[in-house]
């Protein structure tokens, strides 16, 4: 008896999530401006670094090979940041009340936005990699390397998307959601994304070597271009899993708090 109820509950929860995922993907597709910006901005940054600053930065390799992993993370940041705005929009409009007055688990709305964010990022990352190859990026990765890099990036996207969803839940308005998520976009600049950390002043260097983005970038770079990885791979994985768990709990807890009472 109870197993049937639980089963029905799970089936319904999956079906509600699918409905909300479909909705969020449709909304993303129609919000072309945001989608295009999340591709164009990283592309512009990559071109800027490759063609303008690249010549002056010594990385020991061809600069394009150095800069692509960082660009991918930057791109993912932009893609996830717009999730905060979509979530804030639902939380501050009447939509959340409508969903909450239905006999469903209304947190499906967050799942919808997060999965749509992953899909958007899949698309934008693919475009950015394509553009990078056109600009001379020559990875020497095996299929396994690609799969591992993709897996790590996926974890990172999920973590960032849940974090953004949480920010969207606490934001008082769509504008403040966009301001909050701006902080997320800033982190890649304080990492080894565009310049090696050993040229930074010691304080910044300490920050950038101990923040989550640097190990993720180093690992992706190692997998794609064959630079040594060492134990940064494990550190990156630990960061991503930890961040994902943390931001998922953060978002779920905030959502519960905001929708109870």
């Amino acid at each position: 008896m109870s197993t049937i109820a639980v089963h029905g509950g799970v089936r319904n929860a999956v079906s509600d999530s699918m409905t909300m995922i479909g909705r969020s993907i449709r909304l993303s597709r129609r919000n072309a401006e945001t989608l295009v910006m999340s591709i164009v901005l990283p592309l512009l940054m990559m071109s800027l670094f490759v063609y303008v600053f690249g010549g002056a930065i010594d990385t020991g390799t061809r600069y394009i090979n150095y800069v692509v992993p960082g660009t991918l993370l930057l791109c993912v940041g932009y893609g996830a940041a717009s999730t905060a705005m979509s979530v804030a929009d639902d939380m501050t409009s009447g939509m959340i009340d409508r969903l909450r007055s239905l006999p469903i688990r209304s947190s499906a709305v967050l799942t919808g936005h997060v999965v749509a964010s992953v899909v958007r990022n899949l698309l934008s990352t693919t475009v950015v990699i394509g553009a990078a190859v056109a600009m001379g990026f020559r990875p020497d990765a095996t299929v396994t390397d690609w799969a591992m890099a993709a897996g790590l990036l996926l974890l990172y996207v999920l973590a960032l998307s849940w974090l953004a969803a949480g920010l969207g839940v606490i934001a008082k308005s769509v504008e403040s959601a966009s301001t909050l998520s701006f902080l997320m976009l800033f982190l890649p600049y304080l990492s080894s994304a565009f310049v090696p950390t050993d040229t930074m002043p010691s304080f910044l260097r300490a920050v950038s070597e101990n923040q989550p983005i640097t190990p993720v970038i180093e690992t992706v770079r190692g997998l794609l271009t064959g630079t040594p990885i060492g134990d940064t791979g494990w550190i990156a994985l630990a960061w991503c899993v930890g961040l994902l768990a943390g931001s998922f709990i953060f978002a779920a807890w905030l959502f519960r708090r905001r929708t109870h009472g």
């Binding site: 409905t19 009447g94 939509m95 009340d97 909450r100 109870h260």
Partner: protein, 309 residues
Amino acid sequence: MIVEATGLHKAFGSTKVLDGVDLHVAEGTVFALLGPNGAGKTTTVRILTTLSRPDRGSVRVAGYDVVREATKVRGVISLTGQSVALDDQQTGRENLVMIGRLMHLGRPAAGRRATDLLERFDLVDAMERRVKTYSGGMRRRLDLAMSLVSQPKVIFLDEPTTGLDPSSRTTMWDAIKELVSSGTTIVLTTQYLEEADRLADRIVLINGGRVAASGTADALKSQVGGERLDLRFAVEADLVRAAALFGVPPGTDPLVLGVPSDGSAEHLHRVLDELRIAGVPVARVSSHRPTLDDVFLSLTTTGRTPVQV
């Protein structure tokens, strides 16, 4: 009673919004919650629809407790909130199908339900257009349609016609009447007294966190007195003589005397004849039927602001 609320209390910080509100709604009727801005209408509706918990008091909807059995309550109600809840970037049809899917209708059933509702609310021509292109009236109609997808027993409408032009308002009223005739219970809030007068079987007026008055529209009107003739005089001395003649006390306006009346032409004749015979000149005569506005004004002019704890 399909909705039974007893002793509702709710405060936000130090602002007491509800201070012991009782409501009883009979099945298949229209119940209107009236009150000035900030009276706590939305707060009440949010509690009745499980979105907010009362600090004290209890609510049962269709027999289920709104706090302990929220999911069951949600299964039998629907809410059309004060602000329209639609996805601007989805078409009217997509919005409706989405709700149908969330109600676990299969894809074909959700589609059929959407089509029915679009026809009923005269939105078929616009159904493939994105909602952002809809007019205010179309949005309100679609918003109401969204809450009918699940065929609820009790429908809560928070200011369903605010901001609508007279013709859209009439359309909305017709839709509401049709729902009631099919047995649905409606709980609505409104600032338009005419709306409550036309639609509601029972009205509750809340003010300062408490029920200030309740009953049918007619019962409320008779609370502020019956029909009367307002006689306007050129000088106060005339009014004083007329007041003595009819045996009614002068009111607040020194030039206008209110004489109770049954509203007949016969009574009007008699009053004017008596004034002529007594030689009291009267400048203007108007007949006044009490409206809900009178009730509203007489009951809400004091204690407008919520009580501070």
